[in-house]
Symmetry: C2
Subunit: 567 residues, 2 copies
């Protein structure tokens, strides 16, 4: 036995030989990245293994390398010791798995110290950055240096990694919201420790960060949603600051108008009137943005009744579906597109537009309100700020300026706060961390063709599953491209309620199975969905397994992450 | 020796054993696809091996399968007999290699019989087609069935394959001109004979043709510019017919304004004013569109002098650089963008816009002229058609309606005719086939960042190379995306002039080396450039070789095409 390596599958935990091997690996890793950048104490490992899922997988240790060279060294050691390594850019993948591996005892690689902004090219409108660069960091950099480029950010944490989200193929709100689509030029540490520059014949190419497809096979897609490399540098296209910008909101009149709204959004997107990624939340998801979960209104059941939800819609004056989006461009373009939006949508609900002036009034109103007693807005103030009285609950008015910022690429935590919906504690003032703060939230995100018919079919499929598991349906239709939406579905649960946790996981698995067999594949996967991903897709499964074997013969890089290791 | 297979590298041509093996393979192939669909006669093989390059590679035989199943069978036989197979959709890749393999004696697979239009989805604006579907075929289908979708076509032959061009990552003119970017959902016969459907967990996905990235690793890029599979079906996004359309032309005032024009085009593209892929040809490339090469003006040299070229510019009233592009959208959008174009470009040259009325007048003028004697336009007709008198030579006026059509996705042969520039014969009335008709033309297409500075640097690099090899520089700057252009460079030569052929090939190789080491990688490659592609790119070369080995252990699929088989 002594000649065998201790591995994840065969950790040899209890033997002295296993201990010796582990100790030797630890020491080499410490020598490589420095003692201060290796977390191996029990409490650190506990803290950093926390997720917002109903379970967590404990890791062996957490490493914080600072250079690509260190990453290469780690990968080489992992090969030598046959020890799985799971890389994360900044590891804030809440609702999908945070920075957990599929199995326990992996080495977790967090790249947040690799946070260099290597280049910002203003005229060609791109940045080259490392995976540790956060949304906040790049946005601050652009603003401080008066660079006329806008970031597209997600509505998750400002501390989130730009490259990490792009590699995972996440979406934002602006016309640059397809983050993988706007990624151009990668440097990747391969599972054999080599450092690859994408682009084909591009190692000295002037177009490495401008021409996405490069020369020869386009391989960057292989490193998205996969386990074939550690992205250590990447080019990101940025949006030249538009001459003008306008936030718009739209409230769908009634549930039965939803299919028609979906069709209208497709038509407007195909025609180029809408170029952004509109988000449309249902009443329950909106409720999660407005305050803590109303446990007292459950009426003995595990979830709110339709009637109780109806009360909330009434109280907060929120519709079944609420949409936000943005118009970007020259003032005359905006004016025209505003007209087109109004014309197409007016029969289906209420549309509203917000310029900077109106947003600043909303801010004042919200501030004033925060200082006064809840609900006690004076008549004078109310009349002064008339446009917002129709905007209903103060929480919504407070949200609007933050959403306005997100649509301008300025990240903030206002949407993220909804992760605390079922927590016993309210979100802190800043630096929200739903995993460490014990929140319970899981996301699923099936895709659907952008037709009202498909939207109806998907809702008919998933809503009864929520119902039968005793949860409220939480959904957000988001435009991926003019032909496709995803429906972001949340499962909120209380980490302290063991019965609810088990029920939440059952719900997750049933939803995952249902959307898969229903023909609505998810645009990205949470950890629990990876176990049997592609189980019925023989050819692609086999090809990817062959590629994995060729690129990572020892199977050390994030085994099971999107690509199964055996055909 | 008898146990060894006859292969391309070891054809065993002269032995009886080799003959027997070849004969057995032939018979099995004939049994598979039918005798009428196997060309193996010497004259057929000669005819179909012809290229527009200075050389051709004779093939073993040409197969025309009609189903994916037949393609799978062929691939399996190729594996059994270790015989290289080179697939081509319709094989009209003139100027890059037509349907030649890198080495002689390969089996050539032409997929033109697989020409089914499987689905056209008008509301979601896509088509699912087989590789044999030509540009003309799909355009005709859309028009005949009154489907309000527009194709983006290339300016090459209407008989060209839509999927073939997209897989090779070709470009057209309209906002949908990035053909690979608008490809969504592929079926691919793998080198092991398996049939793969892309998209990850998409085998029954409703979003297979709407959501480009799918679930899990995005693999479609692997099948573009590569030798990892035979694409047998694909989804293509089509453009909803815009409410309005306008062709515009722009003549750059002088050579020294070119960098500023490039910068203006980038800014207009980044801002979304220009959404199409403008093409801007130099004087010599324009000359190739207007008639036969003026051999009599060479003045004893191998190429036209600057002075002679100046004479032609004067005679035809053409500028150093001429651009075409299109505006697409609602009438008010067009009006606005027209203003913005004028404002930004007016100081740099002359801009002109063409609506349907003006185009129809141009047609009438050209027809009238064709019927009268060359140049003898009566004063009355001239005054009636005044707007076109400024449009200079009759050849240009004849071209405008055809270019107008191409910009609306209606393919025609007017640009392709330039391939006959140095031929002894003029292009036929229709069904142009430059390879079979003995034309000499090669294309190179380096990419460059969309800056005036880069354009100047690239021109300074390549123009002296043309000069030193005794050729006129022929170039066309085309927008790939707002951040990138390619410079399409033509080498025109006379297939009957052996000295010129040798010189043309030398020029090609030197240009290829120069743009590679200069940091201007080509967006696609001609056959002569594939020999040493990626020779200095160790990591990507090694990764792709590993993938190739894993996917195609016998190396039977298009060996050497973009991916070298050994690391």
């Amino acid at each position: 036995m002594s000649s065998q390596r201790a591995t994840l599958e065969n950790p040899d935990e209890t033997t002295a030989a296993g201990d010796t091997v582990r100790k030797a690996l630890y020491e080499k890793l410490v020598a490589l990245v420095g003692e201060g950048h290796v977390l191996m104490q029990e409490d650190d490992r506990q803290k950093h293994s926390k997720t917002t899922l109903p379970y967590s997988k404990a890791c062996a240790l957490i490493l914080y390398p600072s250079t690509a060279l260190e990453v290469q060294g780690i990968i080489k050691l992992a090969n030598e010791y046959r020890w799985p390594v799971w890389p994360f850019s900044r590891g804030n993948n809440w609702g999908y798995g945070t920075k957990n591996a599929l199995k326990e005892n992996a080495i977790i690689l967090v790249l947040e110290r690799m946070n260099r902004i290597i280049e910002v090219n203003e005229s060609l409108a791109y940045a080259v950055i490392e995976p540790g660069v956060s949304q906040k960091q790049l946005n601050d950099y652009l603003k401080e240096n008066k660079i006329n480029l806008w970031l597209d950010c997600t509505d998750s944490t400002p501390n989130g990694s730009i490259l990490g989200n792009a590699i995972e193929r996440g979406y934002g709100y602006t016309p640059y919201g397809d983050h993988f689509g706007h990624l151009c030029g990668l440097e990747v540490v391969l599972p054999n420790g080599g450092l690859l520059k994408t682009g084909g014949e591009h190692s000295s190419a002037k177009t490495w960060n401008t021409h996405k497809w490069g020369s020869g096979p386009y391989v960057e897609g292989l490193f998205s949603q996969s386990n074939l490399g550690v992205v250590v540098k990447g080019g990101v296209w940025l949006m030249p600051k538009p001459e003008d910008f306008r936030l718009f909101t739209f409230e769908v009149r009634s549930d039965d108008r939803l299919p028609e709204v979906i069709n209208a959004l497709r038509e407007l997107s195909l025609a180029g009137t809408i170029q952004c990624h509109t988000h449309m939340v249902n009443d329950f998801q909106m409720l999660s943005l407005l305050g803590p979960y109303p446990y007292d209104k459950r009426d003995g059941k595990t979830h709110l009744s339709d009637a109780a939800l109806g009360e909330f819609r009434k109280k907060f004056r929120i519709p079944r579906w609420s949409l936000v989006g943005g118009l970007y461009g020259a003032p005359d373009v905006l004016k025209m597109n505003r007209k087109k939006l109004k014309k197409r949508l007016c029969g289906l609900g209420d549309i509203d537009f917000f310029d900077d002036k109106k947003i600043s009034a909303a801010k004042k109103f919200a501030d004033f309100h925060a200082k006064s007693k809840e609900g006690s807005v004076s008549r004078i103030v109310a009349s002064l700020l008339k446009p917002f009285i129709s905007l209903k609950p103060i929480k919504l008015i407070q949200l609007i300026p933050d959403i306005h910022d997100i649509l301008k690429g300025v990240p903030n935590e206002s949407i993220l706060a909804s992760a605390y919906f079922k927590s016993s504690s309210r979100p802190p003032e800043s630096n929200l961390n739903p995993a460490e703060d014990g929140c319970g939230i899981m996301w699923l995100a099936p895709t659907l063709p952008a037709t009202g018919e498909a939207a109806e079919e998907l809702l008919k499929l998933v809503k009864p599953i929520y119902e039968s598991h005793g949860f409220e349906f939480s959904g957000c239709f988001t435009i991926i491209n003019p032909r496709t939406f995803f429906l972001l579905m949340g499962i909120f649960f209380d980490q302290k309620d063991h019965e609810e946790k088990a029920r939440a996981l059952n719900l997750y698995h049933e939803l995952n199975r249902a959307v898969k067999s229903g023909g609505f594949p998810q645009y990205r996967l949470g950890l629990p969905a990876m176990e049997n991903f592609m189980e019925n897709e023989n050819e692609i499964h086999d090809l990817l397994a062959r590629i994995k074997k060729a690129a990572d013969p020892n199977g050390i890089l994030a085994p099971g992450r999107y690509i199964a290791s055996t055909a």
